[in-house]
Subunit: 225 residues, 2 copies
DNA sequence: AACTTCTTTAAGGTTTCTTTAAGGTTTGCC
DNA sequence: GGCAAACCTTAAAGAAACCTTAAAGAAGTT
């Protein structure tokens, strides 16, 4: 799976590339609109991540050009926070999705997966299990025995991380990076609040699962007694 | 694994180099910004530790230059305590991490490991064993037979050092350096207090393991009888 | 526009860990 | 034995880290 990143901010492009490579994508970077368009025209990519503000040729123009050339590669547009009008322009011009900077790693990966999913592909079962709880990351429902609660998106994301890392403590920094992204100005207290919400819901479910605090290290799921 | 240290304070650079070499890294030192940049441009390093305040060329400039030259080696910036704006500048310019002086050896090593970790690496099992005790350095739980106690972060760090150096006495200075950093103003009594806590917990576990004092030298784990 | 739901902010409280400090004990040496 | 240095232990003060809650703010819906 080959992805092209068209982005002039070197550090952002690199960071992105790093993440994508870790997730087994092949990545190329173009630092300005001109090279970006050239590369994209080769039509060898499965996905293009395209910044709007670019030197030489801007993202919207590239997008229009590509669609005119009948290149239908899925495209995710990157836009600075708040540039809603850009969003509209992007979608109008045939972008498949857009993402505001700064964005959370997990969110980008989720969108890429959604975007590159082939039609007819088997729809996965989105259920994660840990001891007596089951989390459906798609419907955001958490179940234990006969009881069930709805989680919010952030609650579900945090629980998902904790379930996936079951045997290793997860620090607040890791959670913040996954949920809010790189340079997000998010306090530790955010995480604490959500952990508190999750604990309340777990206790409502009367589950044996508890979220254990390891002071100075992080959080970890455990089974009571 | 080859690391470049760019740092003008000779003693700090040497101390760092010592520690890294002990941990099986190959280390080069550059004493000013100019040599540092030259060396870094060779692109043979797996990691660069870069001080911000440097003669000739400062750290931030070096960093920008490297990123411009498409050198993506992970970089850890060193900053004097409290220079938060420097931190921001560093990350903005594409640094991967920063560390305030003075720093604890273990923290530096942990960050280096995190930074140089290859993708897809198996999540480690965080358990250290010595005779009849097992220490989980992630959950901070110490187990022996059926019994289990929770350790605090510092207790766990000290025990980890003792287990890793099982056949060699560990001085208070070494422990202080690893837990609090180089020039930390920490008394020997701190270590004594924690050793005392650990002994109490070991005895609660009814383990055969004891912490032996070697007067004038340090501490060492041993098995009773 | 009113409503609902989710997310963020903020404050105060609680718990736990770390540090301090002081008095006691052991050890080696003269 | 007497002394000093090194070490041990403990309680309590101090400092962090964490928890919880309520309410404000944002976003999306009807």
């Amino acid at each position: 799976m080959r992805i092209l990143i068209v982005e002039d901010q070197g550090n952002l492009a690199e960071a992105l590339a790093q993440i994508l490579k870790k997730n087994n994508y092949t990545v190329d970077i173009a630092n300005d609109g001109e090279t970006g368009l050239d590369n994209a025209l080769s039509d060898i990519y499965d996905l293009i991540i395209l910044d709007i503000m670019l030197p030489k040729i801007d993202g919207i123009t590239i997008l229009r050009h590509l669609r005119k050339e009948k290149i239908v590669t899925p495209i995710i547009m990157l836009t600075a926070k708040g540039e809603i009008s850009d969003k509209v322009k992007g979608l109008d011009s045939g972008a498949d999705d857009y993402l505001a900077k700064p964005f959370a790693t997990e969110e980008l990966l989720a969108r890429i997966r959604a975007m590159t999913r082939r039609k007819g592909e088997i729809i996965e079962d989105n259920t994660l299990t840990f001891d007596d709880i089951q989390l459906n990351t798609s419907s955001l429902k958490l179940t234990s025995g006969e009881r069930e609660v709805k989680l919010t998106l952030k609650e579900s994301e945090i629980l998902e991380i904790l379930i996936n890392r079951r045997n290793i403590a997860t620090s607040k920094e890791i959670i913040i990076e996954k949920l809010w992204g790189f340079d997000a100005e998010v306090e530790h207290n955010h995480v604490e609040v959500y952990i508190s919400f999750l604990r309340k819901k777990l206790s409502f479910l009367a589950s044996r699962v508890i979220i254990n605090t390891i002071r100075g290290v992080g959080y970890m799921l455990e089974v009571k007694e």
